[in-house]
């Protein structure tokens, strides 16, 4: 019988940008069980909603995670607005959509870089992150922040974009698309990338549905589901088709994210063309009373925001179910039976965001 050994993986580990800990039970080189333990980034943010004014809490919601910052702010605002019956002006809805799609670009390019780095493909890593800087420059131009920019507020957005900014974003997107095509080509066609990713960590459609995978992880297994189809913000005016792939392996997950970047380029262009004139926010009066679930599609998958208020300026409860939380059970299943050397790549292809998960 093969010898069993347990290898502790993390929390401080060269391949992990974030602290997560896994106990890997090995039989020789093969993983038989992976036991995740989390809590290294737990701060207790949901509890803070009882101490902060519901309008101030937007700033905390945006600091749940630095990568999905814009989306968390938007999801929280949307939930509160629904409780209070506020309709956001169309211009604000469009601006939110433009920022969230730009966040998706930045998040996916970041992930592509990390994937290339995990494969030891250093130049591709640098190239992806070089491209990502252009989007960060646009955030800097339009909001004044590079990563966390706090433009969402209950009732709309706090900063407007003038026509010069919109044009600058459009030009940047055109410019980026030219640079992005060769990177995409490398990820999809390069011999060593394909050899490393194809057939690794296969998640079938049935298992993905059963284990509750979300986002690119679910779409890479062939399920045609995207929460943007719900039509929140300006998505009901935009033409959106979920990007899917069918193999369910690491390569398919990479392919879905690459194609979503192209889709985001199109959506940003379309939204900029359609953005209407008007106010960017409506005044908010009174306090929220009631409860609501808001669902939005974050770069990593569907996130659910629950708020409950009882008529005071402090909410009773805020709850967030993040995409990574849903993607951990499929990840643990994928790790069973894989080689020890494949563990970092499989963990990375679910695009884990630990600070969202643990809050």
């Amino acid at each position: 019988m093969a010898k069993r050994s347990i290898i502790p993986f993390g929390p401080q580990h060269p391949v992990l940008p974030e602290p997560v800990h896994l106990d890997l039970v090995l039989e020789d080189e093969v993983v038989v069980e992976a036991i995740p333990s989390i809590g290294f980034v737990h701060r207790g943010l949901e509890k803070l909603v009882e101490k902060k004014d519901f309008k101030q809490y937007v700033y905390i919601a945006e600091r749940i995670c630095g990568i999905c910052s814009c989306g968390h702010g938007m999801g929280y605002c949307e939930a509160v607005e629904n409780v209070m019956g506020i309709e956001v002006p169309r211009r604000a809805a469009y601006l939110r959509t433009i920022w969230i799609e730009m966040s998706r670009l930045h998040s996916h390019l970041l992930w592509l870089g990390l994937l290339a780095d995990a494969m030891g493909f250093e130049s591709l890593f640098m190239e992806s992150w070089r491209l990502r800087e252009k989007i960060l420059d646009m955030f800097d131009l339009t909001t004044g922040g590079r990563i966390i920019f706090s433009v969402m507020c209950v009732g709309g957005v706090s900063k407007d974009m003038d026509s010069g900014m919109l044009k600058a974003i459009k030009d940047t997107v055109d410019d980026m698309e030219k640079d992005f095509r060769p990177i995409m080509e490398t990820f999809l066609k390069d011999y060593s990338v394909c050899a490393r990713l194809k057939g690794l960590g296969v998640l079938t459609r049935d298992r993905a549905m059963l284990l509750g995978a979300v986002g690119p992880m679910l779409r890479a297994s062939g399920e045609n589901y995207d929460a943007r189809k719900l039509g929140y913000e300006a998505y009901n005016d935009l033409d959106i088709q979920p990007v899917t792939a069918y193999d369910g392996d690491c390569y398919a997950r990479c392919e879905v994210r690459l194609k979503e970047i192209l889709q985001s380029f199109l959506l940003i262009r379309e939204a900029i063309d359609k953005v209407p004139e008007g106010d960017i926010s409506v005044p908010v009066k009174g306090n929220p009373s009631g409860e609501f679930f808001a669902r939005i599609e974050q770069p990593r998958g569907e996130a659910i925001y629950y708020v409950k208020g009882s008529g005071t300026k402090f909410l009773d409860r805020f709850r967030l179910r993040t995409p990574t939380t849903s993607n951990i059970p499929p990840m643990v299943e994928l790790l069973k039976g894989c080689q020890l050397a494949d563990v970092p790549l499989i963990i990375l292809t679910i695009d884990p965001c630990i600070s969202c998960t643990e809050r």
């Binding site: 929390p11 401080q12 580990h13 060269p14 391949v15 940008p17 974030e18 602290p19 809590g39 290294f40 980034v41 737990h42 701060r43 207790g44 943010l45 509890k47 803070l48 101490k51 700033y59 905390i60 600091r63 749940i64 995670c65 630095g66 990568i67 910052s69 970041l110 870089g113 890593f125 640098m126 992150w129 070089r130 800087e133 922040g145 590079r146 990563i147 966390i148 965001c353 600070s355």
Partner: protein
Amino acid sequence: MGVMSKSPWLLHYDASSCNGCDIEVLDCLTPKYDVERFGIINTGDPFQADILLITGGVNSQTEPVVKQLYSQMPDPKVVVAVGICACTGGVFKECYNIKGGIDTVIPVDVYVPGCAARPESIIDGVIQALNILDEKRAALKSKAREK
């Protein structure tokens, strides 16, 4: 500049940050900022690191990890707290699980403010840390000579 400050090795640890400062730390390594031109290399091994970059406030789970990483690093060593959470606890100060800044657990030499700290200020903080590293090295040397 002394011998060590020409090629310092960085160790980065996320104590309980929101990722914002972490991706800015990683950003410093990529083409736009490229700290490798100063000879700075990001390492994952505490036994070979000179500068410890910590982001985020300390919580009960990360406290022993931070202490362990600090004790594993060879002398002389410098600690840089990146971002307002690592300096004081920041917006998370009132959370039940946050102890406060990194200086509640280990001594900090350089504080880099910002939420998220911009790459320029992180690089500035590291360059300041290099001078402190040289001073510490000189102090260690003279101490050894006295013996």
